[in-house]
Symmetry: C2
């Protein structure tokens, strides 16, 4: 085989140009700025592109243009419906704008999270979306590229030039807890996903404590259970907390997944919900309406947060507008069947 004849390898721009009898600059224009090219030329070139099965080389394109049109997202776990729902909204917002999403997971670990930032940047991410704020606490900010914006979703505002799209975790949880506690519950347990160093989880805990305080219950009386954010985590914690104190009448959970786990286990242990036991969740995921009775929870605008975060990234990639500041979105109480006053209210 001669070197110059049709090679049995991946075709390049030059190959297309040669086949179409134009320069490679013209082929590049056809692909990137078709309006600058004559209609006929366009057709001829596109024909050859199809014929040869040409695909632009991503590396070369990125190197020459200094653009990757890629963002990275660091998600604690793909097994957690909350994060995935947000990821879905992000991907949905970005796909038509031809911006790709590189997915990295952290397993709720802030060290891994920090490494993923570097990795994503090395992978060409022009911006990074992230769900936890431990990155900022744990790291020397100076190492984080100043040219790669990092936006935190659903957590609290961060220091530095970082931006945030979220909601008031403390207040949202306090509202829900206050509503529940005001029904007369005295013996309360709180199941939270592992706190680690996540401020947003601490804020929810503070929200619960705020509610207790307002209701004249000492926050120190709150029984706290930390666990994995899974159905089983909820179920296991419920067994444990009921073994610790069978008179518990209200179980507040830091998210719906835990709450559904609690409800499932409680039902199988023949507790009647909400007669024997009230349960609350957080987020208002689809599964909140799958269990019977349906779960009382807080609606968090997950998809909207994802869209806002995505838009901020688009604005950066397209207009070079560095995202800044923080946005707090509204949450809403969803009072449903799993919440009721405790059965035996003691007469004073």
């Amino acid at each position: 085989m001669s070197k110059d004849s049709t090679k049995n390898v991946v075709p390049t721009l030059a190959d297309v140009a040669r086949a179409a009898g134009v320069s490679s600059a013209t082929v590049s224009r056809v692909l990137n700025q078709p309006s600058l090219v004559h209609e006929n030329t366009f057709q001829v070139v596109m024909q050859k592109v199809r014929e040869l099965g040409y695909h632009p080389n991503f590396g070369a394109r990125a190197l020459a243009s200094k653009r990757t049109h890629t963002i990275g997202i660091i998600i604690p776990s793909l097994d957690n419906y909350y994060y995935v729902k947000c990821l879905s909204a992000i991907e949905e917002s970005l796909k038509d704008l031809r911006i790709s999403v590189l997915v990295a997971t952290s397993n709720y670990n802030s060290v891994i999270e920090r490494n993923q930032v570097d990795r994503l940047i090395s992978r060409g991410a022009e911006g990074i979306l992230c769900f936890r704020d431990t990155i900022h606490a744990d790291t020397d900010d100076t190492v984080i590229s100043k040219t790669t914006p990092l936006i935190t979703i659903g957590s609290r505002a961060c220091r530095g030039a970082m931006s945030m799209i979220g909601f008031n975790n403390r207040q949202a949880m306090a509202e829900l807890a206050l509503y529940a506690v005001a029904m007369g519950h005295k013996n309360i347990a709180y199941i939270t996903a592992h706190l680690n160093k996540n401020t947003f989880l601490f804020e929810r805990l503070e929200g619960v404590q705020d509610a207790l305080g307002h209701s004249g219950i000492s926050p120190s009386e709150l029984r706290l259970y930390e666990t994995h954010s899974t159905f089983d985590g909820g179920s296991d914690s419920f067994e444990k907390l009921m073994a610790d104190d069978p008179t518990t009448t209200l179980v507040i959970c830091s998210n719906d997944i835990l709450a559904v786990g609690v409800a499932t286990k409680a039902l199988s242990m023949k507790y009647s919900i909400p007669a024997d036991l009230s349960i609350t969740g957080f987020y208002d995921l689809d599964i909140a309406r799958v269990i019977e009775p349906k779960l009382t929870t807080v609606m968090v605008p997950i998809a909207q947060m994802g869209r806002r975060a995505a838009m901020a990234m688009v604005d950066f990639i397209v207009n070079n507008t560095m995202p800044t500041g923080s946005v707090l979105l509204e949450t809403r109480l969803c009072i449903r069947g799993t919440l009721a006053p405790p059965k035996q209210v003691e007469c004073v």
Copy 2:
């Protein structure tokens, strides 16, 4: 500012090399083949890397090495737990091997799917994972790069050099349906996700029909409902099918999500499960055990499929072994509370 002094831009390999007093080749080795470099040199260079906040330029690296260490995955929807569960297993298998995952969605649309293949290849994907087999039916294979392997997950074997990791959809569904029908159900409805051109969904339908045939029921008596693969899709279809024929005693669903939607709606309509109504699903997702009674379904080794598919990609990327042939994994019946014989068995 002079041109040569510390520039306020992204540092390059050459910048690190200059700062460390070595050649850029040495810096490259430190980063890619540290074993070839003297320990002292390694330390000095790494120190400068950190100091400057250097991140390798992905485009340049990809261009020079002809490697991206990236695979693409085309997923019908990130809102469907089944696909996400598999994605999770894939990501998990790949993260430690430093292979990145580019996520693209198709919205169950084979045209979009086909476009995503091109897009992912242009994005540098060295291989592509995909959940549907319509791509192969709809397309001129010659346009799909021969150098980029495409593996189908969970669907049937495809033609050409493409590879597949899946299971026998028809047989798995037939086993479940046969078990259910053998209990004496005569009036049966089947709710399926939109068939479109997906062979695997047709295969499940055939499985149901096989079971009816074996039980002496004419397959034409099966009432078929196509809907979106969501809880609401299941709920809505259930309302419809009960309006069409209130004597239905068994609802077979093409997946657990639909089945849970059916169960939720049935419960809220005061049907007693399984006394009035039996329900079956497919996949054995977490949510199968969340509803009460728990869902009868088929366990599909989703995570295992993801891992196998990921491993095949690793083998291609690392050893240049083109994936080929197809793998069929085992499924297992999960008989749980939503299935029972129909209440009024007519005496013959």
